[in-house]
Assembly symmetry: C2
Homo-oligomer: 117 residues x 2
DNA sequence: ACTATTTATTCTACATTTACGAAAAAACCA
DNA sequence: TGGTTTTTTCGTAAATGTAGAATAAATAGT
């Protein structure tokens, strides 16, 4: 599908935006991504996903005015929209549903364990 | 990430392969995808995902010899490998974990309902 | 007010994944 | 053998994912 579909990375960013609420922005998301998944992405990668997510209507943003803290450009704070919430909820349900439909046999004995005998 | 990362579509195909066990192949997967998700993908899209999944080691395949049925090229039957099982299990855990970490407030009042007053 | 420093976003370029439809291949049947 | 059926393979286009350098905005010190 195209245009409205949620990519794998995009979904992660969308989820992380929720987790970080109400302080989700490029840099904090990048940090949290690494903390939670060990996966480190360039800041540019995060931002391009954020832009696409906003274009698709799954996220909205607002500039945070003078924070009274250290220097630096104003943060662009992101939060999930109703459409975004629906998207991740559906994605989650679909995947969990499919997972539950997999017959025992299909995964039987599939593991990385070794048996010494 | 590259090479070993599981794309959104790929994950769906991997799951569907499990659901269809032991009769998962290009055409049956395409059919099941539409049944389960309403999403219809071209057969070519399915196959390219299948090829990638096999290259990544998440799926294995074997040609089904003379089926004694109608004509047609032999089906290439796919099944999940141990690595594939691990991949979808981890993906599922990560997403569910993140979902559970989203504070109530972040999704509060976000829905498509309309209230007549 | 000016400059250096800090923090974050934007921009540019490229790699990988997803999507499609046409063409090719293999098996069966008359 | 020729035609039909079923499914895979191939070539190309579009969307998504990745990266890092360049740019911008705010603060603090002088």
């Amino acid at each position: 599908m195209k245009g409205t579909q949620l990519g794998e990375f995009e979904e992660l960013i969308l989820l992380l935006t929720g987790v970080l609420y109400p302080d989700a922005y490029g840099v904090s998301i990048a940090r949290e991504l690494e903390n939670q998944t060990g996966r480190k992405a360039a800041i540019g990668a995060i931002h391009s996903a954020l832009v696409r997510l906003e274009e698709k209507g799954f996220l909205k943003s607002e500039l945070q005015s003078g924070s009274g803290k250290r220097g630096g450009r104003p943060k662009k704070i992101f939060s999930i929209t109703a459409a975004g919430k629906t998207a991740i909820a559906k994605s989650k349900e679909l995947r969990n549903s499919l997972w539950d439909q997999i017959p025992e046999l299909a995964l039987k004995g599939l593991n990385y364990s070794y048996v010494i005998r």
